[in-house]
């Protein structure tokens, strides 16, 4: 679990670093300096491989890569359920769901 979290944090840092390297700094786009914060690195996610529900988490004012990944996996789950079981979507109702951060 700890290893997975470390790996994930490293991946996020790499993605952010890659983005920063591939692109000029914020000041290249604007005439003022923009402070860069990477909240993903500051606050590692903790949801690896467990049942999770967004509604159980405290509100976050920034999104992490894991949050986005979880939302994508939930979206696919809802679509698959509709296709296979013919059930209506449950967006917002947060059915139990196994998030796989490695996926």
């Amino acid at each position: 679990m700890k290893l997975a979290s470390t790996l994930r944090t490293s991946m996020i840092a790499l993605v952010v670093a890659g983005c920063a390297m591939a692109a000029p700094s914020a000041s290249a786009q604007t005439s003022t300096t923009t402070t860069t914060t990477t909240t993903a690195a500051k606050k590692p996610p903790d949801s690896g491989g467990i049942l999770s529900s967004a509604s159980q988490k405290p509100p976050s004012t920034t999104a992490t890569r894991d949050m986005i990944n979880e939302a994508i996996q939930r979206s696919k789950m809802r679509s698959d359920r509709l296709r296979v079981e013919g059930k209506l979507e449950r967006f917002g109702s947060e059915d139990p769901f196994a998030f796989n951060p490695a996926q």
């Binding site: 952010v16 914060t37 999104a63």
Partner: protein, 778 residues
Amino acid sequence: MYISSKASRIRQREAQRARDNRAEIVKARSAGQITRRDLYKWGIFTLAGTLALKNGLSPFAKSAFAEVPTGTPRSPLFDAVRFTQPMPRLALQTPIPLTQTGVGLNAVANFPAALGERAAKRLSYHTDFTDAGGNGNPDNPFLNPVTGRGPIEGRPPGEVFAHQRWNEFFPKVGYVMSIGQIAPGTRFDPHFPALNANAVWTYGKGRFQQGQLPPMLIKGRYGEPILTRIYQNLPVLRGQNGGFGLNETQLHFHNAHNGAESDGAANVHHFPGTFYDYRWSTTLARRDKINTQATDRRASGPDGNGGLVNVAGDFRELQGTMWAHDHRFFFTAEDVYKGNLMMINYYSGPDRGNEVLNDGVNLRLPSGRLLDSGNTDFDVNLIISDGALDPAGQYFFDIFTTDGFLGDFPLVNFAYAPFMEVLPRKYRFRILNACMSRFFQLGLADEAGNTVPFQFIANDGNLVVNPIPNTALDGGTLDHQGTAERYDIVVDFSAFRPGAKVRLVNRVTMRDDGRGPASSLTLRQAASLLNGLGSDPVVGPVLEFRVVNQVMSNDVPGVILRAGDGDPSVVPPVLTEQIPVVAPVRTRLVEWGRSGNGDSRDPKTGQCTPDCPETAQFPWTVKVNGAAAHSMNANRIQLLVPKPGEIEHWTYVNGGGGWDHPIHLHFEEGVTLFRGLDGRDPIPATEKLVRKDVWRLRSTGDRSVTFQIQFGEYGGSYVNHCHNTVHEDFALLMRIQLLTGVAGSPQAAVTPTPNPTPDGVVFTTPEILPEGDPRMPA
């Protein structure tokens, strides 16, 4: 959404009976003969808020005659034949020069005295109405002259809805228009019956003229702020609407860089008898951060004499092809479909609308040369939409659908499948998808079905860095174009001889359940369907270009333009520069989905903010940063931007369930970064690193898109929503609050919610959801 023309007569009757019954319900509701409670009691509406799947009511009820859903009966076409009427050009409006009197915050903009118009002011006339005693003063000179109650202007009172940066962007030209019933004798095709007065509501020139089709076109110029006065001449009684549409309107200038008071989506609809002054500032984004001294000639607008007026701001954010439409929350689909829309082209130094001026700034894109700027002889706006008719040939809309509305015949500039004569040279086409729910995938084909080349030059009004040839696109055609998306292309007809025909062809089919695009025919297949696909007549050719030797000028009527005149226009290999992608200050996640249990209604009163149809339920909801899902409430802020200039990365995720959503962000355009987690989904060339204000959320792959965004110059209350306007109305829309106004202005803080009533606007304090407010401690 509608049944096949080959369906049995019994089946056709069944579908028509269902439509009649739904119309009866609407009529009875309008007359107060039945209540929403009655509808639930009778089982006509389900607890989920959808129309019960009953034969005789729902278009989706299983038919006794077939296994597929019953749809709306096919529109009668009265023997109209495609490509037999000429395509009308949009109705160009002439700007009215304004003069300034007074100074500072009290400066006013005067219309010519002959028009008898009140001067335009920073503060609304609602402020005067309130100061003069409101309804309590029977002699109040600022009373609504039609109803005798409430203010004469719909713009809310006080500083919060005063025009921001009034003196910096003081209006130089004005327009006076009125939204009203369609003029007698108007029809979509010469074979169709004339439209009833309340079948279409659209704009007329001046204060009193009835609505006219085709819709209007306004030509704006950077450096020349506009004051647009909209009179509301719709019927006072809500029920006098021809079956759909609401007589309360707010005109949203789709993604112009304007203050919230002029964005037309701050919950500021107004009522019959009133007017609303929108100040369309022509502000170039980033004017407070980049090129603040206006020294960059590329950041400029035409001066009317072949020269330029420099403006502050970032030339990479110049806008071109835009439009405006109604945005009355909960009724937008009905109102826009009904005709409440127009187009606006912004002209700039680089995108001048003149193909011969060679000053090192002008790109000389196809347009014309008779005017110094804004030529339209070879620069053509195309509003493409789908319509439906009832058996009497009147415009039809199904107000009960919450999923989407598809018409079954194509309209171009509100004419049924017309033709347009073109010279053998280059043309620019500004294509707007103005459907309520339909996606297009457009391409060009010759009479043999061969692909005709084009170059893609702008997306949602933003020039791409390098023109993109159609050969770089899937199937040699444009990518899917959702509602409100604008694609600009250049087509060179010089390879064709007079007499040749080229057709604009839609090759994507929509799913029967309205969830989104189904599959794409090849361009050749679609081009061969001269009367449209049997199951969906809007698939196939929608517009025919006829190559001719001469045409009449659109810019200077009476002047003949000839094939031998030559073509001095160019499509340069570089149109603008790329805005860099940078590490963001913060990232946001916004999910758009169908939960079936929106919370637009107050749990105690059952009322929406603003008021919504009594029968409406809200299956669509929005989540921010993984928190709880909510549906539209104008008094609830779901996402807040704390200060100007901060660069953010936003990811939109489709909630799933097989739906496609075209998601629109007001006020600012984002640089599209990638699709899918870390960019693992393919992204069309027309989107990659391209600025946009509408992004299609697909129902395949990772169903997500990420873009870079920053806000500045103005602030206040804006919205972010699905532009499938049916989804938007039920209520896939959230309020965003931008604290990005000038420091010290009301728009640097959270602004109160205006609640319009016929007696005037009252303000309430909005709820702010913590997940969208970065000012909250982590």
